[in-house]
């Protein structure tokens, strides 16, 4: 792992505000094809349904079995598609920036979204996966990331993962949120082959409905930090971009969309005027955590409520 392309401050700010970062088509075709070969795709003709398919593909796959808590660097043998994926400069740089390359692998899993014919064999009505947060109530400041690797093109009909930008700081319990069936601002993955998205562990998401006639594959890798996540991205930029406070509410009317404070205080479509504002505070406190700068603020949201005299 020599050639790292670390995240910029702007990319980190996007991750802090939205809870994910995207790398469209970052994985070259030869790695995608190698991965699809490694999956060990099996014929579906004699299968009884989805669980049967999973059982068979696990037997034929060469995806390694990795004990939880294994160092990432020891998880994927050299020469495998997953090793090559992790070592891409953009991916290794993002991992280093978010959780450190000395991180641990929690688990990985090949998610298969089945088309209608498999549901018929399972005698189950086809439905999408309900929205949820992995994996249980998790109020930590430290955070894990989940790599979502899409080895082939995902069309709209294939029901790519839907996710709710900005939901990652909500402390909820897994599928308890499943009664929220559709949320204003939710997005769906529609992407070219070789796209990688990296989610904060708290981002609400769920698999879509596959209305194509093909299987849809998603390989997910959860990574955990082994140390405090402190200034792991491009530090030089951090020093340059820690701006002083700026006028708020009454301004010169000019938009500064790339300003760090603007990125951290940009609302999502589902924010209301109450708890939506609390998400700005969550983002600012997250930035303080990853930067180690306990005086950092964006547009005075946290400083205002810390101005206490005891």
């Amino acid at each position: 792992m020599t050639d790292l392309k670390l995240l910029t401050t702007k990319q980190m700010a996007h991750f802090a505000a939205k809870g994910f970062i995207s790398f469209p088509s970052v994985v070259p075709d030869h790695i995608n094809q190698k991965f699809l070969d490694d999956i060990g795709e099996v014929s579906s003709e004699n299968e009884k349904g989805m669980m049967s398919h999973y059982s068979n593909i696990m037997k034929s796959s060469t995806i390694p079995l990795v004990p939880a808590g294994t160092d990432l660097k020891d998880s994927y043998p050299e020469g495998t598609a997953l090793n090559e994926l992790i070592n891409l400069p953009e991916i290794s740089g993002a991992i280093e920036s978010l959780v450190g390359l000395d991180c641990l692998l929690d688990h990985h899993f090949l998610h298969i979204t089945f088309p209608q014919k498999y549901w018929e064999k399972s005698k189950t009505p086809q439905r999408s996966q309900s929205i949820h947060q992995d994996s249980t109530i998790d109020p930590r400041k430290a955070f894990d990331v989940q790599i979502f690797y899409f080895p082939h093109e995902v069309t709209k009909e294939m029901g790519g993962t839907r996710y709710l930008p900005g939901s990652h700081f909500r402390v909820v319990s897994e599928s308890s949120i499943s009664r929220y069936q559709n949320i204003k601002g939710q997005e769906h993955v529609i992407c070219p082959a070789g796209t990688v998205m990296i989610f904060h562990m708290g981002l609400w998401h769920g698999g879509g409905l596959n209305q194509s006639d093909q299987l849809r594959y998603l390989f997910k890798i959860r990574l955990c930090p082994k140390r405090r996540q402190l200034r792991l991205w491009e530090e030089g930029q951090l020093k340059n971009e820690t701006e002083p406070q700026r006028p708020i509410f009454w301004t010169d009317g000019k938009k500064q969309e790339d300003h760090l404070s603007s990125i951290l205080t940009k609302p999502e479509p589902w924010f209301e005027m109450d708890s939506g504002r609390l998400e700005y505070l969550n983002r600012i406190r997250f930035w303080r955590y990853i930067s180690g700068d306990n005086n950092f603020d964006a547009d005075y949201w946290v400083t205002r409520v810390e101005n206490e005299f005891l």
Binding site: V171, S176, E272, S275, L278, L281, N282
Partner: protein, 58 residues
């Protein structure tokens, strides 16, 4: 008008229901517990829309 009604329009809630009113409870506003004022979680304002469709009798 708010603040001007000295007399309750009905003596009981049942009377109001019998007169065609429907009872709706809004999401309660729960006091934030100390130390947890800024934590976000489930959606705070949750309502259901119910559409009443009148059915013509045969």
């Amino acid at each position: 008008m708010p603040g001007d009604g000295e007399d309750a329009p009905y003596k009981t809630g049942i009377e109001a229901l019998k007169d065609g009113w429907r009872l709706i409870q809004a999401s309660p506003l729960i006091q934030h517990s100390e130390g947890d004022e800024f934590r976000t979680g489930y959606f705070k304002y949750e309502f259901f829309f119910e559409k009443i469709i009148s059915k013509e009798h045969d």
